[in-house]
Amino acid sequence: MDDKKRHLKNDILLVCILLAAAAAALLLPRLFRRSGADLVADVTVDGAEYARLPLSENAELEIDTDGGGTNVLVVENGEAYMKSANCANQVCVGTGRISAEGELIVCLPHKVVVTIETEG
């Protein structure tokens, strides 16, 4: 009788441990990802990596592209924006400030893409 009870107790304990392990496997990466998440402005020119600027540091970057195209990207107070560009349509400058993961600034004439990403 006593033995059976103890077995039951151990079984319950075992299941609890397994559940806890499973929960930890599920939650830990998320917690880790959130706390360790630093946002960066990823800059590519014609698909090739050009620069990665952490949003946590104010900076100004001149992006020089083939054929004399120049864009000036500013990171300020956790946001990124295109301060100026010598392209005709000025769509990139008009995009304004971005700061959330997945947001974009694109200069189609100069093939410049700025994406907010989580630093992996």
Binding site: H7, N10, L14, V15, A22, G96, V106, L108, K111
Partner: protein, 351 residues
């Protein structure tokens, strides 16, 4: 003694535990990735999706990209491609001979004809002769703002004589397209991006995937919800703001396409007045009643065609069209900034 029993129990529980761990672990390990392409339909294409690894995401994204490039080449009216009969080939053979084309051109033109009938001619892919005058003036005006000009009104009227969609002869059996009016040309800008985005979304679905979001120049298609089940949030741009990142509201999307056309896209300025790229087939000029129109539908191509139609229709005609189209909703933003919603649109608005 109990220890061996516990061991037995442990082993009997192991498969279940392993399954549990795997389920949790797998769900937890899907990561959101995103990439951008600039070489499709002269616009910005963004692909986002949840995948187990960067490699898995890249493989699917590149598949989507090459599919979109195929559509881009087929529907291109400005460039030739080696060994490919595209819409430029069709246009060059207007009044001369039928051109044998890929089924994806025939399908698009059949759909465009349906949309022409459905919208009372407000979406007309046979308007290339008119649109090319606007295109040339806009390209020049963007590059040379000080000497920007409007297309000549007489030239527009003369071009409009050659826009009868009945002169687009599609022969399904022979797989050919023939423009019987030699002055006619096709321009599928009003439907092509939506059609291609819909095909790409279907390809993702066919691969058994969910949790992907494609955006082809403002034609947004969500394949399933995000990983974890919450809906994608698609921002509708505030047309009164110069900033493209300020939203007027957000739409929750899962297996839904969200298409917005705005007067802030592809415009140019002549003597201080903006002229956008959506040309009304009846007036031959851009219609400035609305600053943007958004259409929601599970059918990407339909949503794309309807945004163009609604831009060119008054509110009552547009509203009648939307309310009679099953599963479609619309948001009109008038030039003065006021918003008009179709009957079910607000069900999709993220609170």
């Amino acid at each position: 003694m109990w220890a061996t029993n516990a061991m037995k129990k442990l082993f009997s529980l192991l498969p279940a535990a392993a399954l549990l761990l795997c389920l949790c672990g797998c769900a937890g390990s899907l990561t959101r990735y995103q990439t951008t392409y600039l070489d499709v339909f002269d616009t910005v294409t963004t692909v986002a999706g949840y995948a187990a690894s960067q490699e898995a995401f890249d493989a699917e994204a590149e598949k989507i990209h090459s599919l979109l490039l195929e559509y881009h080449e087929l529907y291109d009216i400005y460039n030739d491609y080696d060994g490919l009969n595209n819409l430029r080939t069709v246009n060059e053979n207007a009044g001369k001979s039928p051109v044998k084309v890929d089924a994806r051109i025939l399908d698009l033109l059949n759909f465009a004809r349906e949309m022409y009938d459905k919208t009372g001619g407000k979406v007309n892919v046979a308007m290339g002769s008119v649109l090319t005058l606007w295109h040339d003036a806009r390209e020049y005006g963007i590059a040379n703002p000080d000497s920007a000009y409007l297309p000549d009104a007489d030239a527009l009227r003369a071009a409009a004589e050659h826009t009868d969609i009945g002169d687009v002869v599609v022969d399904a059996d022979a797989s050919t397209v023939y423009l019987s009016d030699p002055e006619m040309s096709l321009d599928v800008g009003a439907v092509a991006k939506g059609w291609a985005a819909g095909a790409a979304a279907q390809a993702v679905k066919d691969d058994g995937l969910t949790g992907w979001l494609l955006s082809v120049g403002g034609n947004v298609c969500a394949v399933g919800p995000k990983s974890g089940g919450s809906k994608w949030q698609v921002g509708i741009r505030d047309p009164s703001s110069e900033s493209a990142s300020s939203y007027i509201l957000k739409v929750g999307a899962a297996d839904l396409c969200v298409v917005t056309s705005g007067s802030y896209e592809r415009y140019y300025t002549v003597n201080g007045v903006r002229y956008h790229h959506i040309i009304d087939p009846d007036t031959l000029y851009p219609n400035n009643t609305f600053s943007s129109v958004t259409v929601l539908s599970a059918d990407s191509a339909l949503a794309d065609a309807l945004t163009t139609a609604l831009f060119n229709m008054d509110e009552s005609a547009g509203s009648a069209l939307i309310e009679s189209t099953s599963g479609a909703e619309a948001l009109w933003i008038r030039a003065d900034g006021t918003q008009v919603f179709s009957s079910g649109f607000k069900n999709y608005v993220v609170k």
